[in-house]
Amino acid sequence: MKAQAQHYVSTTNSCKLCKPLGACLAFRGIEGSVPFLHGSQGCATYMRRYIISHFREPMDIASSSLGEKSAIYGGGPNLKLGLRNLMIKYRPRLVGVATTCLTETIGDDTPRYVREFKEEFSELIDNCESPELVTVSTPSYCGAHMEGFHAAVNSVIDQLANDYDKTDSLNIFPGFVSPEDTRYLKEVLSDFGLTSTILPDISETLDAPALEHYEKLTSGGTRIEDIRTMGGARASIEWGRSITDSPSPAKTLMDKFGVAMQCVGLPMGLRETDTFFQVLESLSGMATPQKHSLERGRLVDAYIDGHKYVFAKKAVIYGEEDLVIGLTSFLAEIGVKPVLVATGTSGKRLRKSIEEVCSGILDKPPLVKADVDFYGIAADAHKLSPDLLIGNSKGYRLSKELGVPLIRIGFPIHDRFGGHRLLSIGYRGAQNLFDIIVNTIIETKQESSDIGYGYI
């Protein structure tokens, strides 16, 4: 993978996945929902197998299975037949219809087909307890998986939320975090005495218990009744510094229903978590519960105790934009020196966000690369000689080549167990990540030593 640092037209070893995959993930976090890809059946098959390799959980995605005929005459009939079959068999509460390259290229008007379907099959829909049908446009040639994820959440809000009733509830849009992160988030909100709607919520749908009676539609996920009331909520909190300039669910709710919004960075590490907790304090009117302030205190204590192991270690960070911003903020504050921060998408706000989260700690921000693939990351990494890589499983080859450890976080993690149960947000997540990083560095030192360290 040795390479010159130059710009290539082709993409070698991509650092992003495709747009409809993100939409499927987001839809999966809604109660009783089935994602539905309008396109060739290979898209559904490939994305299912990919998502499953990370979560090790069932992931059903229906498809309109278009063939050549539909590619010429349009995919409407297949879409309608597919929706009908799916509804009869699965009785979903929501079907999330995402488009693909095929249907976008041929110009299928998917929202119109869905409207027609609702009229033509109104009786069937009634008999199936009127599931919601949400559409989202996700051509792969326009953005990557995170854009698809946000677009799907935004479509759900745009098409379902109303403000008929004002509620005391909060809306939380966490973005793509792990099921374990979501469970932690729920605990925090509950400790602050806040009622909230988290959209999406994959904590159970993509991390379900072992059963003997299989559930066709996995339990859990954001309740559709709750989504409907999101337009009447007190406020929305959106995680992710990257989405500030683009349409987002919180913004949609503000524009349509005047719901106040707060956008904070993905709460990774102490400082970004402090910001989030401050927002919770002001919204709840209560001080951070002792349980969490103790966790914060223990975290700082660990930062101090473990500093000698991690200080000045150089890290290459790659993955989704918000994830790498959060990781950079965290690594900077623990004393690790981020030397390259890379993401596969255009990353319009990446550089600015990295500067923001590094300011006051680092003399100068790290090298930031957007729209880059692993070939490009490798070219830079060879020159920067990092001590560790942090990102998803796709950095494994590079880590082997460089002879440095890879700390796996993000998506996909398919060469380690339990990637979806990784907690990385909040004080507790920072503690978890910190321990992993410290121990990885210690282990590397121990393994590479001729003498061996019994105590370290």
């Binding site: 390479a3 037209v9 082709s10 993409t11 070698t12 070893n13 991509s14 992003k16 996945l17 495709c18 409809p20 995959l21 539905f36 060739s40 059946q41 290979g42 898209c43 559904a44 098959t45 490939y46 994305m47 990919y50 499953i52 090790r56 959980e57 069932p58 992931m59 059903d60 995605i61 229906a62 498809s63 309109s64 299975s65 278009l66 063939g67 050549e68 539909s70 297949n78 037949l81 597919g82 009908r84 079959n85 009869i88 068999k89 693909t100 390259c101 095929l102 290229t105 041929i106 051509p139 792969s140 040639y141 326009c142 379900a208 072992a210 059963l211 003997e212 009676h213 559930e215 080859r397």
Partner: protein, 542 residues
């Protein structure tokens, strides 16, 4: 070793089961699905519907044309650069997801761990992607100087009309490196099967028989077709063949090398492992070069031995016969010693297989070795001949989908055609069903077994509830659904990252893995002690 009579199979009323399972579908769908489900009975081999369009919304196991071409047949060729022309997903999802392994040859070229894409953007879709593709090929050539480059079309490419064949021709000329373009857009055909055929055609036209520089002297020289080296299967086969003194000239395409494929026309016999994905190549090579083919199955101890004996029979050489028998005796006894302990724990258990276009057949042999019975089986993307045997091929009527995949007109090669055996012997071995024959999966199954083509999600669920198998073999997409029923699931696409499973040693690995899965103590821990509800399994097994 096998259970000849099925006891478990008799307990489910299959006719009733089929009626019930399709009753949830809309009428038209139910009628269609009925044709894909048959019960093996004493009467003649039943007819099954296969290789037709999947019903939308049904949640299928099937993939697309691109998956069959790039993912299955071409991707495993390790010393070639494979460029996917399209938006990023298609290339990403086929990046090391299949466990086709490759060992670099002396030249050290190995591109298997790379994922090359033109990563089409909206401007490419609007203004055309040919320019970008040309640049991508040039870059691949400049950086890697590979022996050959493949280009695979994804859905948008065909729709916007990029002429990838013209680009490939130009770039072949410009770089002096063979560039092969495959028009395997995802929407073509009914499953990955169309992609296999497209891949076979281009490989045959542009690769096979193009290199006569190294003359092959040996007599016992074979190619293995349709062996993808999942988990190192091909290497176990190679080990046994080497021991017998048989040289494998080229493998299509697991651990496949483009150079070896170019020389593959010099082999004296083709061995067809996955009939579905590669029978086209076997037929075309026979017509063009005079190489006969034999259907083999290297899965299972007895399967491996049977296949070796078929090869020995074809070569008709007393010394080879002796050697093959010696190897079989030695290997079988070693394998048996290791397998018997597992068989004691597995005997009488039942399996269901829903996978591929050959594996659901091949692995029945191995389950037989373990004393297990296959109660229900089906393919994902097979054609009727894979179920019922090649004799039905003349009766198959081409439909709109199959007509869209080109059938090459092949003539005997003017300089390279060479009959391998005398016409009399050819006739003799053909009439004995040794050459050019495949009887399909159904004749090998027990009376009362069920066969279900392109099984849907819903059907799989009902099958598990009614048949209560001890293990279900499928792929990653179904694995976790099956396991949520409390039933272990073995992935036969990627072997749960284990393997090899082929050959004698592979059978031992498989026995260990299946034993481990079925007898995993965790299955009994699902219920908490305070959970007083009797379980479904406890009720029905008792």
């Amino acid at each position: 070793m096998t259970l000849k009579k099925s006891s478990i199979n008799q307990t489910v009323d299959k006719e009733k089961f089929v009626k019930e399972v399709v009753s949830v579908y809309p009428n038209k769908v139910a009628k269609k699905r009925l044709k894909h489900m048959v019960v093996k009975s004493d009467c003649e081999s039943p007819e099954i519907e296969a290789n037709v369009r999947t019903i939308p919304g049904i949640i299928t196991q099937r993939g697309c044309c691109y998956a069959g071409c790039k993912g299955v047949v071409i991707g495993p060729i390790g010393d070639m650069v494979h460029i996917v022309h399209g938006p990023i997903g298609c290339s990403y999802y086929a990046w090391n997801t299949r466990r086709n392994m490759f060992r670099s040859r002396e030249d050290g070229q190995n591109y298997l761990n790379y994922c090359f894409s033109t990563d089409m953007q909206d401007s490419d879709v609007i203004f055309g992607g040919e320019k970008k593709l040309r640049q991508a090929i040039q870059e691949a050539y400049d950086i890697f100087k590979p022996k050959a480059i493949s280009v695979h079309a994804t859905c948008p490419v065909g729709l916007i009309g990029d002429d990838i064949q013209a680009v490939a021709r130009d770039m072949t000329q410009k770089t002096g490196t063979l560039v092969i373009a495959f028009n395997c857009e995802g929407y073509k055909g009914v499953s990955q099967s169309g992609g296999h055929h497209i891949a076979n055609n281009k490989l045959f036209e542009q690769v096979v028989g193009k290199d006569d520089s190294k003359h092959v002297e040996e007599k016992f020289v074979v190619n293995i077709l349709g062996e993808y080296n999942i988990g190192g299967d091909a290497w176990e086969i190679e080990r046994v063949f080497a021991k017998c003194g048989i040289r494998i000239l080229s493998t299509f395409s697991g651990d496949g090398s483009i150079d070896e494929m170019r020389r593959s026309h010099q082999a004296n016999l083709n061995l067809v492992m996955c009939h579905r994905s590669i029978n086209y190549m076997a037929e075309m090579m026979e017509t063009a070069f005079g190489i006969p083919w034999i259907k083999v199955n290297f899965i299972g101890v007895r399967g491996m031995s049977k296949s070796l004996r078929k090869v020995a029979k074809y070569f008709d050489d007393p010394e080879l016969d002796r050697k093959v028998e010696e190897v079989i005796a030695e290997e079988e006894s070693q394998a048996e010693q290791l397998i018997s302990v597992h068989r004691d724990r597995l005997k009488g258990k039942t399996a269901m297989l829903f996978v591929g276009g050959s594996r659901a057949h091949h692995y029945q042999e191995l389950f037989g070795d373990l004393g297990m019975e296959t109660t229900v089986a089906g393919f994902e993307f097979a054609h009727r001949d894979d179920y019922e045997g090649r004799h039905i091929i003349p009766t198959l009527k081409p439909d709109a989908d199959s007509r869209n995949i080109e059938e090459l007109k092949v003539e005997p090669d003017k300089t390279r055609f060479r009959p391998r055996i005398s016409p009399q012997r050819m006739e003799e071995l053909t009439s004995e069903q040794l050459l050019g024959a495949y009887e399909g999966m159904i004749p090998d199954m027990n009376q009362g077994a069920m066969i279900i083509d392109d099984v849907s999600h819903l059907e799989l669920e009902e099958l598990i509830l009614s048949f209560k198998p001890d293990i279900v073999c499928s792929g990653i997409k179904d694995k976790y659904i099956i396991e949520k029923f409390g039933v272990p699931s073995k992935q036969l696409h990627n072997y749960d990252y284990s393997g090899p499973y082929a050959g004698f040693r592979g059978a031992v690995n498989f026995a260990e893995d299946v034993d481990m899965m079925i007898n995993n103590p965790a299955w009994k821990l699902i219920h908490a002690p305070w959970d007083v509800e009797p379980t479904l399994r406890a009720e029905t097994v008792a």
